[in-house]
Structure formats: structure tokens, C-alpha cells
Symmetry: C2
Subunit: 335 residues, 2 copies
DNA sequence: TTGTAAGCGTTATCAT
DNA sequence: ATGATAACGCTTACAA
């Protein structure tokens, strides 16, 4: 492996000069810089990042921690963040927590011990406050939270307008004529889900419908639990559900089918996240779309700029067949 | 930040002893080890991995390079590899190439410059030989290729039995009574696709059907191009397609629909990869499933063991509605 | 069993 | 504009 000392020796200068030339310091003669660069290329030099990091006390790695990379939402956030960070000369270390608290702590330690320049993260469902995050990261490593955030932690945050989104989704169901609307609310230790639940409630109130707490189903974020909650909702007389997740909404659709209910005529559903399958299944599922790529971009930008505010990225309701009793709205094929 | 020297000072020993104690060397008295460990915990010591890596000339990071993390296949490979590597004390650095050659080279350099302990990768469609891989990695960094492999590169490989899988898929179409079967073959610079094409051809031959090269559509791996190729296939009189990818198969289904063909009665389709949407859409799409989690495990294990052979992970044909003219086979709901 | 000392490759602080 | 020197925190011969 060729080092700056090798280049220095070959050129009859010192390592310091080579280092300066290579890192674009202004304190080096133009002609020396050119000579160094040529020699470096010729000898096939590549900077030893590990050594550089040790000396500088930080690396060019930005860590991203997500519950699961295969979720459309998270892989798109990563894509958005990558697009910004790569252009800024960083590389990205991705960790999955699989929604487990211990895996999250381990990921944080790994990143910290690798001296990452910063951490972008969306916490696991299993963790209900951010103490461990602050403890591991300290105040040397900048943190940007996205989607699932602990608002009492310092640092930048990127969130969706969950309240408004869920409000719009619920109101849409009311406008389609559904009258007993339940919700698959998700985990209340995540502020995103709590905000969606509030949006759901407020929409019902504003539409003059009663808010029946027995129609709120917590912890129903995956397909299987969505199925069970769907059954219960149907027994309780629901004619529609707003689900804070798409997979749980899918489960609920399967529950409605198993009870012989026609969708959307007898049972309406709106999910959340706009997973790819929602527009491919039959009936096409309505979903409250997040804007993950943009959230990733914003998170990366917040890291780069060091600004600590909260960025709100708007959601968009995709109305499809599962909630459209109204003929006209069934026409779009791809939406 | 507390270092081994701080611990050493606090205990009245030297840094070497602390280092040895902490890294589990046998050359240290049991009682010293205990004292060191207690003091380390008390002072909140965490090993500086960067310094350790510099000294040792390698890191505990294993790089994984994939075309796109959001593809079900790749995210599951990553999951499988992670499950093994994490248990062995490694952490995982994930890079996406977005199928671009230049991004692949950049990812390789990034990993090499970060002194990763090894690289697991599936090359981008855009690269048609492995020269750049070998050039960047040299022979110091072990390479394990999976799924898309260059067989002339040294190192371990993990592949599917693509020939046999495509053979089974094609034969299945013949058995369902389809007689003019085309294929969306994919990119021939990937050996995986080339093997699938051969399996398709051999199945036709073995079934006594002609192999018509005009029914082979290359470079048709995404939804849009699958749609176009589907149209062409239909015009050429095809009554079925074996597609080397699921997204292109989806496009072909949309093409058949746009021509008013009923599926599977008038047009049959089998895709490849068993993406999540295949079992959620209508009609449910038959697909030749890969076994990505197992491939990831095998790739990680190959890295750990250092064995350089080729591991073959079997594929499994999931017969669903899109290729079942046969009533009985339509019954399964989830499969 | 422990201490000594050198060095991994880079960069920052001096001085020249 | 360049050189000398030290240091980042850790590991590992070698010596004791």
C-alpha cells in the first residue's frame, strides 16, 4: 500500500507537503500540488481513511438507523439521504434494528465507536423514550431524527404532518358515506402514531360523529394483528377503518373478506405509507402517502447544515378503490 | 473520551496490560483482568475502533454491495448475512449501486479505503465483467459474490440453481397447455440470467417444442420494458411468458390486459423472485422464488470460513393463478 | 505476568 | 511555501 511518505520520498519533499497538497490546502505552491497529484495518480495512491479519521477524530461516515430496510418507506428515506450525502462526500452506514430496543442500542454504539460524523435515525417501536440515544451519542455526534421522533431530544427532526394527514384520510371516509369508522392506531410510544390518532379523532368530531374509544385498536401494525383487529372492528359494527399502517390495513381487508363483506361497498379502508403493493392488489388500497425520499433529503440536509429545527414534510392522500363508493374515483389505474 | 491509558493510570499498570486484559489475551493475571474490566466499566470506557483498526490494518466492518436495497430479494439477502455476521462480531456497511457501474466502483473504493474485512456483493447490471472489482479490492480483501456473479473472479460464490429453476417454470407452462412460450430474459452480462435462458430453452426442447429465438426478449427487467416486450410477444402469437424478473412480468400482465386477454385462460405468466406483490395482486402471479435469506447466510458463512467454493441455493416454483388453467391449483390463498 | 517502545498513516502545530 | 515533530489510541514484538 502506497502512503504519503512514499510519494514524498519519490518527490524529495516531506509528508506534510504531500498531505497539504492532497487535501487542497492553500498553503502549497501550485506547481508542487500538480507534481504531487501526478505522482499520487502514477503510484496508485489512495488515502488511508482510517488513519485520517483517527487523526481527525471523526470519519466521513454518516450512520442511518432504521427499523427495517425492506420497508418501502425506509428504503426510500435512505435513498433520499444518500443522494445528498454522497454528493457531499460522505458515505452511509446503514443499520437495521428489526424494531428491537437492544439492537437499536447496539447500532448506536457501533456507530459511535466508529466515530461517525452523524446519525440519522427513526427509532424502533420497542423504545419508548430517547434516553439511550442521548446516552450513547453524547453531544459530540449530531443526531437527526426522522418520522418516529422523540421531541424531547435535542437536534433536528423531520416529520410528516401526521395529524393533518390522518384528519384528511378520516374525513375522506366520512365523505364517502361511512358512519362508524374505527382505526388501527399503532403504538402510542411513537409520536407519529399518536398524532395520527388525534387527527382521526378530530376529523370525526369536526364531522359531527361520535368518537367511540372502543373502535380504537392499538398495537396493530402488522398483517396478522391487522387481521385480528379487523375482525373485532367488524363485530363492533364498523363500516370503515383508517389504519396507521398499510400492512395492518391489508390484514383488515382480509378480515372483511373472510366475513363476506364487499369492499368498498360494505366496508371501506384507508391505509398509511403507500407501500408498493397497495396499488397492485385488488381492490387497490387507498393510502395516506408519506414522502420518504424527500424526508431523507431533508434529514441529510439538516445534518449538513447543522440547523436544529423541525422540518415538516406533507403527506398526500391517495384515493383508490378500497374507499371509493363513488364511481368517478375508480377510474385511475396507476395512481 | 476515556482511553486505555486513563484506565492504566487509574490502576497503576501500563496501557499494554489494559489492552491485553480487554482483548482477552491469556497473558494476563485473572485478578488483573477483573480489576481492569471493573475500572473500564466504571469509567465508561469504550474501545476506539478507529485506532484499533488502524493498528491492526483491518476493521470489523463487512461491506455489502447491492444494486438496490428496496428489492425484496436484496433486503432479504442483507438480513440473512447480517444475522450471521452480527453474531460473529462484525458490523455491516451497505452500499447501493442503483445498477450503475460508476456507483459500483465508488462503493468498492469506499469499502477498500475503510479497510473493510470483506465484501459481499451482487454486481450491477451495468458491469459486464469483474475486472474493476479485482482491481479495487486486490487480493487482500476477501470477496464473496452472490446471485449475480462473475465466475472468472476468484473467491466464494453463492448462486441459485437458475438453470433448473427456469427449466421447471417453463416445463410447468407447457404442462398447463401453453404452446407458444416466450421469455423476458434479462441482461446477458449476468450469468444468472444467461442460465435462466438456457433452462427455458432446454425445457422447450425436452418437451418437443421449437425454440423460437424471436420469442426471446432481452433487457426487459423493469415494469415499463416488460410492458413493451409483452405487447411484442402477444403480437408474435405467444400464449405464455416466462419472465426472469417479477416486475417485467407485471408489465407483461398489464400488456396482456390492455389487449383484452384473460389471464390465465388466454395468456399465462410466471415471473422470478417472488416479490411480495406477486401474491397480493389479482390474479396472483406465479413466480420462481429465490431463497435470499439463505443466500445471505451462506455468503456470510463463506466469508467467515474463508472457503472459496460455489454454494448453490435451490429455487422453488410458486404456482399461483397467473399460470394455472387447472382449477385445483387456484385454491391456495396465501402461498 | 507485566513493562517498554515502536509504529499504523495521517494531520496539525510549530518553526523556518 | 515547506519542513520537523508530535500526536491521535491502540496493538504487539521484545525484553524483563
Amino acid at each position: 500500500m502506497v502512503t504519503i511518505s512514499d510519494i514524498a520520498a519519490a518527490l524529495g519533499v516531506t509528508p506534510s507537503t504531500v498531505s497539504r497538497a492532497l487535501s487542497g490546502s492553500p498553503r502549497v505552491k501550485e506547481e508542487t500540488r500538480i507534481a504531487v497529484e501526478r505522482m499520487a495518480a502514477e503510484m496508485g495512491y489512495e488515502r488511508n481513511i482510517v488513519a485520517s479519521n483517527l487523526r481527525k477524530g471523526r470519519s466521513d461516515i454518516v450512520g442511518i438507523i432504521v427499523p427495517r430496510i425492506h420497508r418501502n418507506f425506509f428504503s426510500n428515506v435512505i435513498g433520499g439521504a444518500e443522494s445528498i450525502l454522497e454528493a457531499a462526500g460522505y458515505c452511509v452506514l446503514i443499520c437495521q434494528t428489526h424494531e428491537r430496543f437492544d439492537a437499536e442500542v447496539k447500532a448506536l454504539r457501533t456507530l459511535r465507536n466508529n466515530q461517525v460524523a452523524g446519525v440519522l435515525m427513526s427509532h424502533a417501536i420497542g423504545s419508548d423514550n430517547g434516553k439511550h440515544i442521548q446516552e450513547v451519542l453524547g453531544d459530540r455526534i449530531p443526531l437527526v431524527q426522522f418520522d418516529r421522533v422523540f421531541s424531547d431530544l435535542p437536534g433536528a427532526k423531520v416529520v410528516s404532518n401526521n395529524f393533518e394527514g390522518a384528519y384528511a384520510a378520516t374525513k375522506h371516509l366520512v365523505e364517502q358515506g361511512y358512519r362508524r369508522i374505527g382505526t388501527l392506531a399503532g403504538y402510542m410510544n411513537s409520536e407519529a402514531y399518536a398524532a395520527r390518532l388525534e387527527g382521526y379523532r378530530q376529523a370525526l368530531r369536526d364531522c359531527g360523529l361520535p368518537v367511540d374509544e372502543s373502535l380504537v385498536h392499538y398495537d396493530t401494525i402488522v398483517r396478522e394483528t391487522g387481521f385480528d383487529a379487523g375482525l373485532k372492528a367488524i363485530e363492533a359494527g364498523c363500516d370503515a377503518l383508517y389504519s396507521a399502517g398499510d400492512f395492518s390495513a391489508l390484514g383488515a381487508i382480509e378480515a372483511a373478506r373472510s366475513k363476506g363483506l364487499r369492499i368498498p361497498e360494505e366496508f371501506g379502508i384507508v391505509g398509511t405509507a403507500n407501500e408498493a403493493f397497495t396499488s397492485l392488489m385488488t381492490p387497490k388500497m387507498s393510502s395516506l402517502a408519506l414522502n420518504p425520499f424527500e424526508m431523507g433529503r431533508q434529514a441529510a440536509q439538516a445534518f449538513l447544515s447543522g440547523e436544529e429545527g423541525t422540518v415538516v414534510v406533507p403527506m398526500e392522500l391517495k384515493v383508490r378503490e378500497s374507499s371509493s363508493r363513488n364511481e368517478q374515483q375508480n377510474l385511475s389505474t396507476y395512481a
